[in-house]
Amino acid sequence: MTEWRPPLALVGAWLALLGLLALTVTLAYVPLGAGNAVVALSIGTIKAVLVAAIFMELRKRHGLTLVFAAAGLFWLGILLWLGLMDFMTRT
């Protein structure tokens, strides 16, 4: 009977997420001005890509599954686009 071991990719992604979390917290205390938001959002994007590709296994999927995953991203875009339209044009 073979012993079960967690897939390396999952462990690696988990460690990477923890590392990025530590980086986010650390950089939040470094005064970069507007750069803080840019850095935080960039790290957040990398984390999201890791989750989607590794944990959701989208790297192994095709067709309809990717369409639905992309739809989620597209709808997030709608939320940001129309939400920001208010914030950017408010007097």
């Binding site: 739809a71 709808w75 709608i78 939320l79 129309l82 339209m85 208010d86 914030f87 408010r90």
Partner: protein, 535 residues
């Protein structure tokens, strides 16, 4: 002795509470929703009794706030949103596509347990003293000032949201993967197109509600500045996030109702639905465009004028696919062999009431009019015409139409028609006066009002009494028929849908042999020329 069916396979409690049969899970949802409907209805009754006179007679202002909040939360999340998808949808999706069950039967049962956990959590909040924020949980009141059970109620809604997501996911996968041979997308019943569109909204919008409620908890517990401007937050952010879910949620409620009405209008006109493809794609168009209009709830909130203009325009756009459906139902009726059986009475009531609700929605999409009507009874009347006049009427219509299939019994047509007519008149008497009250400036959410508004409020409360009786009637005659009604044939309406090609009630495995579809949908005028047998 009748054939064994899903109701008679096993009578133990365990066989119901651990079932993975989609039909039994539909019945579990049905019973749960009746329970929640009565709780929400009890709050509405108390509200209407209080509003029969201008002064405060029955409750204090604080209790009144808790009553309308309880009514809204229970009715929206624990009745309207799950009603058609989780009862009729659960029962019918596999039957309509010729499948044995949904794609994920265990997930289906789990979604009911999650729903009940969410419902019980919210009930606990109500029993412990209730909440006074209104069903919208607006900040900063909900995060800073309210001393009621906001977090518990929000947690209940948060939990129930996962049930919605799982049901939506299950329907999407089922409709994609388990259709019978020959059942192409354009041969699907339009009820399934509308459930598919609903499921897409459930999956894409509900997580945003979950995040929003979590943010409320984060601010309330940890003082993180998200919505409170004193600590760097923005109260309008809450409204953006909340309505990004809650406006599409209106379409979660109404799209399944529209799907039911397609089936009813076609069956009782003995004609295929006019413009099938337009109606099918109109469902998806409503689901998609419905995500672009949420800001029309925020015209007077301080939102930028440019954003308001865009949201106003998009709100007009979303009316187009809804209008397509209304015109196509009307065209289906044209030169049809119309039968006024009870389900058809509900369908016709739906078309009229939904049209009034939809058109008054266009009033509110106009910026100038909305400024006058915001937070008045005009808005209350508008959304009740959509949600109750539309959605609940369609639910009752669908329940009557498929009742012989669900229970294997026929109900009293006389009492069913009586209830349908009473619901129509009771509903209009309750809510039409509220349009006038709103236009004259009576604000919502107040339990005292100037005496000149009393006439319309008395009419409204009188209508509510009729409506309450009318909603209770089906409890009796449907309940009676479930045990003592005449046995229903497999296809009492002579309808061509797959669900009618199996026995009533269906066997546990739905079909004895795998059905194969060779015809277009709604072919009433070919092989099914016989009249309905239930008249």
């Amino acid at each position: 002795m009748s054939e064994p069916n899903y109701l008679t396979t096993d009578y133990t409690l365990q066989s119901w509470f651990l079932t993975t049969d989609h039909k039994r899970i539909a019945i579990l949802y049905f019973a749960s929703l009746i329970f929640f409907f009565f709780i929400g209805g009890a709050a509405a009754t108390a509200i209407r009794i209080e509003l029969a006179t201008p002064q405060a007679d029955l409750v204090s202002s604080d209790v009144y706030n808790r009553l309308f909040t309880m009514h809204g939360i229970i009715m929206v999340w624990f009745f309207l949103i799950p009603s058609i998808p989780n009862t009729l949808g659960n029962f019918l999706v596999p039957l309509m596509i010729g499948a044995r069950d949904l794609a994920f039967p265990r997930l289906n049962l789990m979604s009911w347990y999650i729903f009940m956990l969410g419902g019980c959590t919210t009930l606990f909040a109500i029993l412990a003293g209730g909440i006074d924020t209104g069903w919208t949980f607006y900040t900063p009141f909900s995060t800073l000032y309210s001393n009621s059970y906001v977090i518990v109620a929000a947690a209940g809604v948060f939990i129930a949201g996962f049930s919605s997501i799982l049901t939506g996911l299950n329907f999407i996968v089922t409709i994609h993967r388990l259709r019978a041979p020959g059942l192409t997308w354009y041969r699907l019943p339009l009820f399934l197109w509308s459930l598919y569109a609903t499921s897409v909204i459930l999956v894409l919008a509900t997580p945003v509600l979950a995040v929003t409620l979590l943010l409320i908890a984060t601010e309330r517990f940890f003082g993180v500045g998200i919505f409170d401007p004193r600590i760097g937050g923005d109260p309008l952010l809450f409204q953006h996030l909340f309505w990004f879910y809650s406006h599409p949620a209106v379409y979660i409620m109404i799209l399944p109702g529209m799907g039911v009405v397609n089936e009813l209008v076609s069956c009782f006109s003995r004609k295929p639905v006019f413009g099938y493809k337009f109606v099918a794609w109109a469902s998806l168009a409503i689901a998609a465009v419905g995500f672009l209009v949420w800001g029309h709830h925020m015209f007077v909130s301080g939102q930028s004028l440019i954003a308001s203009l865009v949201f106003s325009f998009m709100s007009f756009v979303v009316a187009v696919p809804s209008a397509i459906k209304v015109f196509n139902w009307t065209a289906t009726l044209h030169k049809g062999s119309i039968h006024f059986d009870a389900p058809m009475l509900y369908a016709l009531a739906f078309i009229g009431l939904f049209t009034i609700g939809g058109l008054t929605g266009l009033f509110l999409a106009c910026l100038a009019f909305d400024v006058h009507a915001t937070d008045t009874y005009f808005v209350v009347a508008h959304f009740h015409y959509i949600m109750v006049g539309g959605m609940v009427t369609a639910y009752f219509g669908g329940l009557h139409y498929w009742w012989p299939k669900i229970t294997g019994r026929l109900y009293s047509e006389y009492w069913a028609r009586t209830a349908a007519v009473l619901i129509f008149f009771g509903f209009n008497l309750t809510f039409f006066p509220q349009f006038i009250l709103g236009a004259e400036g009576m604000p919502r959410r107040y339990h005292v009002y100037p005496p000149e508004f009393q006439v319309w409020n008395v009419l409204s409360s009188g209508g509510a009494a009729i409506l309450a009786v009318a909603y209770l009637l089906p409890m009796f005659y449907l309940g009676y028929s479930a045990f003592f009604g005449a046995r229903a044939p497999a296809n009492p309406w002579n309808a061509p849908g797959l669900e009618w090609q199996t026995s009533s009630p269906p066997p546990e495995e739905n079909f004895e042999t795998q059905p194969v579809v060779t015809r277009e949908p709604y072919q009433y005028n070919e092989a099914f020329e016989a009249e309905p047998q239930n008249a």
